[in-house]
């Protein structure tokens, strides 16, 4: 009885979480263009998706920005984390507090603040400003993911390496970096997810020339969404699902990875 | 010792088809200090958890003062537990940890204060009431756990390896303190441990378990001096276990000689195991003075005594003696009849309850 109640409750919660997603998937096969009306099965939105220049361009910008922002903020953040870790107490906590600002501030404040900066110093809003903005809000998360690993690191390990004749740069590359790799990877994953999903900060820093998927969907949602967006979201959702299922199957550490 | 407090009848529990406790029977009397002793996975903790109500038995009965207890949840049993790693509530201070059970019972603040203070005094933690439990040492946490259980005035206290996390010196101190407490509050303790020395020091009765089966129930002296089988002999202290033949009542044959003994009731020529404790073998510098002759093959100084291995051609005997015989010297060995413990051969056979 109690078990049944639990199952029903979880079922309802999952229904709530998945209903909109299932609906999008169903719509992606719906030949009727209007929402809420079933006009028969079709794959034409998928075909249209391949032809749609606007969507393809937005997808391109989303991915290229996410990849670049991830690479840059991961390298930048890892080095900064090592530096911050080795600072004295006061500068360290000051740096960390500033670093936390983009994490704790509402996205909209970070967004308008960056927009204000770019316009005030006459940087044209576009690809570069958006990339910089993404690096600004991704790097703090990389630092937050790497720092705990540095704290776990044996303090003497770098000293031991140098005692054995390694130069500091060699010790960094061959001893410290390999030890904190799990933190770097999870930092990179967080950065990539945040960047690819970001709307608010992109919205304020992209200007009119560049559009990513989120911005495209936002502008469409107000006017009416092309059904090929449903097709795209179906493809994206299934990709993510398959990836996660594979990870989960491969290791029981799925839980850890996701968190 | 008083009347029967708790009885286990054919108690059985298995996990995923593996039997953890196999149809055990046991009676525990009031004010008794009973120790469940055995290696890890022998079923001792499972037995304790069934008594506490944390596991449901698959089969069998638990009777508490003659009343069936099986279906009562833990919070309805007049039994309290001291958990393995104490399980103190980290969000409550020392006072509130101890007061927890009383608060549940909705006692008045005044009564709670008096009882908790008395209890803290008893476990030597006066003035610690406002302390955070995480700030206490292992030994202090241990005392809080005991106070938290005892303040409810249970008829039975279950202790699951309560000293396992402490270092050796503290453990020895706590053993004596626990014994004192048990004597002064006069309630029954069921104590689980894998440490045979601890069991021998503290218990009125030891229950030796292995593979979910009770091997032997008896006083520490019984268990040490008269183990009923090879497992018990081996688990309790060091011993020489020798395959032998029972010629007739009071006579047993091994290593080429017949020995007098005090056991009877075996079939003629029945194969048996003989246990001789290392300290029960007497050494003679003249080999002819001993019934068995051998050569010393190793000597280790153990503080009070020397531990020597002596080879008689059939086996190596372990011998404890305060006099050192150098390696290579020939010695004679003798054993008193009372020190020869004859056991049935079949290994790990469950014993019947006395």
């Amino acid at each position: 009885m109690k078990k049944a109640a639990k199952r029903i409750y979880m079922g309802l919660v999952f229904l709530f979480l998945y209903a909109p997603i299932i609906l999008l998937i169903v719509y992606s096969f719906n030949s009727s263009k209007s929402r809420g009306q079933w006009g028969g099965f079709t794959l034409k939105w998928y075909a249209e998706l391949l032809q749609d220049r606007q969507i393809k361009e937005a997808l391109y910008f989303t991915i290229i920005i996410a990849v670049l922002a991830t690479i840059i903020s991961t390298i930048f953040g890892t080095l900064a984390a090592i530096g911050i870790h080795n600072m004295k107490r006061f500068p360290r906590s000051l740096s960390l507090n500033i670093n936390n600002l983009p994490v704790l501030n509402p996205d909209i404040v970070t967004g308008v603040a960056l927009m204000t900066l770019f316009i005030s110093v006459n940087i044209q809003l576009g690809f570069v400003s958006m990339l910089i903005a993404h690096i600004v809000f991704c790097t703090p998360y990389v630092i937050l993911a790497v720092l705990p690993k540095l704290r776990q690191l044996n303090r003497h390990i770098a000293e031991a390496a140098m005692d054995l004749g390694a130069k500091p740069s060699y010790a960094l590359r061959k001893v410290i970096i390999p030890q904190i790799t799990p933190g770097i990877i999870s930092g990179a994953l967080i950065a990539f997810t945040l960047s690819i999903d970001d709307f608010v900060i992109s919205f304020f820093t992209a200007g009119t020339q560049v559009t990513n998927l989120s911005i495209l969907i936002y502008s469409m949602a107000k006017r009416g969404v092309k059904p090929s967006i449903n097709a795209l979201s179906t493809i994206m959702f299934l990709t993510v699902l398959v990836l996660l299922l594979l990870i989960n199957k491969k290791s029981d550490k799925g839980e850890e990875l996701l968190l | 010792m008083g009347k029967n407090l708790i009885e286990l009848k054919n108690l059985t529990k298995s996990y995923n088809g593996v039997t953890a406790v196999d149809s055990i029977n046991m009676t525990i009397r009031e004010k008794e200090f009973v120790t469940l002793l055995g290696p890890s996975g022998c079923g001792k903790t499972t037995t304790l958890r069934m008594i506490g109500g944390f596991e449901d038995p698959d089969d069998g009965e638990i009777l508490f003062e003659g009343r069936l207890l099986n279906n009562d949840p833990p919070y309805k049993r007049n039994i309290n537990t001291v958990f393995q790693r104490y399980a103190l509530f980290p969000h409550l201070n020392v006072f509130e940890n101890v007061a927890f059970g009383l608060r549940i019972k909705k006692k008045s603040n005044e009564e709670i204060r008096l009882k908790v203070e008395k209890m803290l005094k008893m476990v030597d933690l006066e003035g610690f009431d406002k302390r955070n439990v995480d700030s206490l040492s292992g030994g202090q946490q241990q005392r809080v756990a005991i106070a938290r259980a005892l303040v409810n005035e249970p008829k039975l206290l279950l202790l699951d390896e309560p000293l396992g996390a402490l270092d050796l010196k503290l453990r020895k101190e706590m053993q004596l303190e626990l014994l004192d407490m048990q004597r002064s509050v006069g309630i029954t303790f069921i104590y689980v441990t894998h440490d045979q020395e601890e069991a021998l020091t503290m218990s009125d009765t030891i229950v030796v378990m292995n593979k979910g089966i009770i091997q032997q129930i008896g006083t520490p002296q019984d268990i040490y001096n008269e183990p009923v089988n090879r497992f018990v002999a081996d688990f309790i202290g060091e011993s020489n276990i020798i395959e032998a033949n029972m010629i007739e009542d009071f006579r047993v044959h091994f290593d080429g000689s017949d020995f007098d003994c005090i056991d009877k009731g075996f079939r003629p020529d029945e194969p048996v195991d003989v246990v001789i404790r290392p300290e029960d073998i007497y050494l003679h510098s003249n080999p002819a003075d001993g019934k068995i002759q051998g050569t010393v093959v190793s000597v280790v100084f153990k503080g009070v005594h020397y531990e020597m291995l002596i080879d008689d051609g059939n086996r190596e005997y372990m011998v404890h003696n305060t006099t050192m015989f150098p390696v290579g010297s020939s010695v004679g060995m003798n054993v008193m009849p009372a020190d020869i413990q004859v056991m049935k051969r079949k290994e790990e056979e469950p014993c019947e309850e006395e």
Binding site: Y9, M10, V13, F16, L17, P20, I21, L23, L24, Y27, G36, F76, L79, A80, I82, G83, I84, N86, M87, S95, N99, L104, P106, V109, V112, L114, T116, L117, S120, I132, V136, P168, D197, S214, I217, Y218, A221, K222, I229, S233, M236, F237, L244, N248, L258 | F54, Y75, N80, Q84, L88, F89, P90, H91, N93, F100, I104, K105, K130, R148, A149
Partner: protein
Amino acid sequence: MRRRMKLLAYPYSAWMMIFIIFPLLLVLLYSLTSGDIHDFSSLQFSLQSYKRVAEPIFLKVIGNSFALAIISTIFCFIIGYPVAMIIARANPRHRGKLLMFIIVPMWMNFLLRTYAWMAILSPNGVLNRFLNVIGLQPLEIMPGEIAVLLGMVYNFLPFMILPIYTVLVKIDRNLLEAAGDLGANKVMTFFRVEFPLSIPGVVSGITMVFMPAVSTFVISGLLGGGKTPLIGDLIEQQFMSDRNWHFGSSLSIILMIMILISMAVMSRMDRNDEKERKPV
């Protein structure tokens, strides 16, 4: 060694000054001035935009934002706590899977999910068609506050579930058994032991839901249809269409300050809880 490693942080320190501190100072500057934003020499100190924030219609917007954010946080807590508890108590083999199914929707683009709710809730959307089929009156919740609330709860629910789960799953089962052993039944054990121990998770869950909820402009823009503008909508308008950066900046500063205050209150609650247990 330490001294040399420290150098690695300097580029980032400079970066933080330029892209984190300086932009916020700019916002602060604009909020305290009036004049042409493109001509720094024309800027003059003025509290005018803050005075404007205090006008009743804008105070109402701020009030609405907080009310909606608080209500959606409460709903997330009421719905999310039991979910976290059920997953934490589930068989460890299934936990990973259950958790994954909570997280998967978050991997779907946030705007797509909100757009999907538009399709469900709009006047001739799926919900109303369904109600029509079973012979009920259609609901007029979108555009409106209820739809905004629903969108908030939907989007932020996992942020409530995950931190609570993380704390609950780490609670030593022995503690719950100990409470039972001391006479507490399941309900008492929950309220006296399990819930108090999960408070740190609840606090971070509340923060993680409240923050994005109070500052959102997407959800209110798409599901609220401008009927109940929130502070986020107002800020977006000032920067994107009205081009009144001074007013937008003071709204941003006010939003920041209020969020900082509520976070300080929350962390105080968390710390108080801890302090009680610390020795003096």
